[in-house]
């Protein structure tokens, strides 16, 4: 199973996600990237992240994405 940083790197290889604490305001993820990320996370973790949870606040940094995964039923 791929880790969240690995998945982010595949979607936007030009950015260093470890160096940012705000992917949205730093311009590293746009709304279409969020949908791509959700699609990959759903498949990777065998879950379906709720559409109403696809909001920028949940994709701000690694901690918020991991919290979203836990909330969506992903097993660590």
């Amino acid at each position: 199973m791929k880790s969240v940083p690995e998945i982010l790197q595949e979607i936007r290889p030009e950015f260093d996600f470890a160096a940012s604490n705000d992917f949205i305001n730093d311009g590293m993820l746009d709304s279409f990237d969020m949908m791509t990320l959700v699609s990959v996370l759903d498949k990777n973790y065998g879950i379906s992240i709720q559409g109403t949870d696809i909001v920028p606040e949940n994709f701000k940094n690694l901690q918020t994405i991991e919290a979203l995964l836990r909330q969506s039923g992903a097993k660590p």
């Binding site: 979607i11 279409f32 949908m35 791509t36 699609s39 559409g51 109403t52």
Partner: protein, 359 residues
């Protein structure tokens, strides 16, 4: 707002799509994005092929082509049409109404009603409601509803948020009285305070089109768009659909006392595959009961996508049998609408090509 209609039915659907087909892959070079990123988007959203009108083709052209096809094959008689409703956001002119132009070019009788209605992706359900209301009149026996748009002509080829998803089409639906006792339930909601989520800013009288409004501007995310072009706040629309549609449908079914499991098909407007899959998951509806394959074949053609989803996926079931369907539209306005009705015994249900014109 809730509505109930009695003894009305759809008796046929014909969808006209331009023969001119474009693929996402061949258009990728228009966007200021790395190819790999565009290909990921293609996979998630279901972008593949779409149908676009050639330059100069208008809503009335496709509608007339479709109606003439029905006349020629004896599936509809010109004199039977007592009302012609056109739902569009891309009319031929400000004035006169495009429905009048269609009537005139086809030589239809004068003793009829022509009406243009400005509605977008919720326009199929809104149009059906208008048709059902007209059929309450003694003098109206058959209504032709046309959901047609050529919004590709109002999109920027440099706008990756809009351009890859838009298609053009005209859907012709014939509606009449049902000789059997039947009931149709509908719910509609509107929120004009969010009108700017889907908008063409210039071209009306508030901001007339000028050389300035035709200039492409950097609107962020490497997209270029003019004020003359259609704009969409994708995140706002996505959240609107995920938030408002499940309770609208649940409320409609609760009011009528029908369970989700009793619905054979949830036939929704077709914005993109991802949005519909998320909607189905939220409602705990199997993906097989909520078709999401229109965008990948034809593009999102606004109010015509529900009849297109029907013709593409379940034409046999509707011409040879009957299903219980929940029709759901959502889009500009904002407007969202759901309708519970039986579909079956249709005389025709098909998609035909509007031919390319010789160069």
């Amino acid at each position: 707002m809730n509505f109930t209609f009695r003894n009305k039915r759809i008796s046929g659907v014909l969808v006209v799509v331009p023969a001119n087909e474009r693929t996402f892959v061949e258009e990728m070079k228009n966007y200021n994005f790395p190819e790999a990123r565009s290909l990921k988007l293609k996979e998630v959203m279901g972008y593949d092929r779409r149908r676009l009108v050639q330059p100069g083709v208008c809503v009335s052209d496709m509608a007339i082509f479709g109606l003439q096809s029905l006349f020629d094959r004896g599936l509809l008689k010109p004199d039977e049409i007592d009302a012609l409703l056109l739902i569009t956001q891309s009319p031929d002119y400000f004035m006169p109404a495009t429905s009048n132009i269609i009537q005139g070019r086809l030589g239809l009788k004068q003793d009829m009603l022509c009406l243009d209605i400005n509605q977008a992706c919720a326009g199929f359900v809104i149009g059906l409601m208008q048709a059902f209301m007209l059929l309450e009149q003694e003098s109206v026996r058959k209504v032709v509803l046309i959901n047609a748009d050529v919004l590709s002509r109002k999109t920027s080829p440099k706008d990756r948020n809009i351009y890859p998803l838009v298609g053009d089409a005209a859907a012709i639906t014939v509606i009449e009285r049902d000789t059997q006792d039947s009931v149709i339930h509908a719910s509609v909601k509107m929120d004009g305070s969010r009108n700017d989520a889907l908008m063409i800013p210039a071209g009306g009288l508030r901001l007339p089109s000028t050389a300035e409004t035709a200039v492409l501007e950097d609107v962020g995310d490497n997209n270029l768009r003019a004020k003359d072009h259609l704009r969409m706040d994708g995140s706002a629309i996505f959240n609107f659909v995920q938030t408002e549609i499940p309770p609208l449908i649940q409320g409609l079914l609760d009011r009528v006392g029908v369970s989700m499991d009793a619905i054979d098909y949830f036939l929704c407007h077709q914005p993109n595959r991802f949005m519909l899959q998320k909607l189905a998951d939220k409602m705990k509806v199997p993906h097989s009961k909520m078709p999401n394959n229109v965008v990948e074949r034809f593009g999102n053609s606004s109010g015509s996508t529900i009849p297109m989803a029907i013709a593409l996926n379940i034409a046999d079931k509707i011409t040879n049998g009957q299903i219980l369907a929940c029709l759901t539209g959502f889009g500009g306005g904002l407007t969202w609408s759901a309708m519970l009705m039986r579909l079956g015994g249709w005389k025709f249900c098909e998609i035909i090509d509007y031919p390319n014109q010789p160069k």
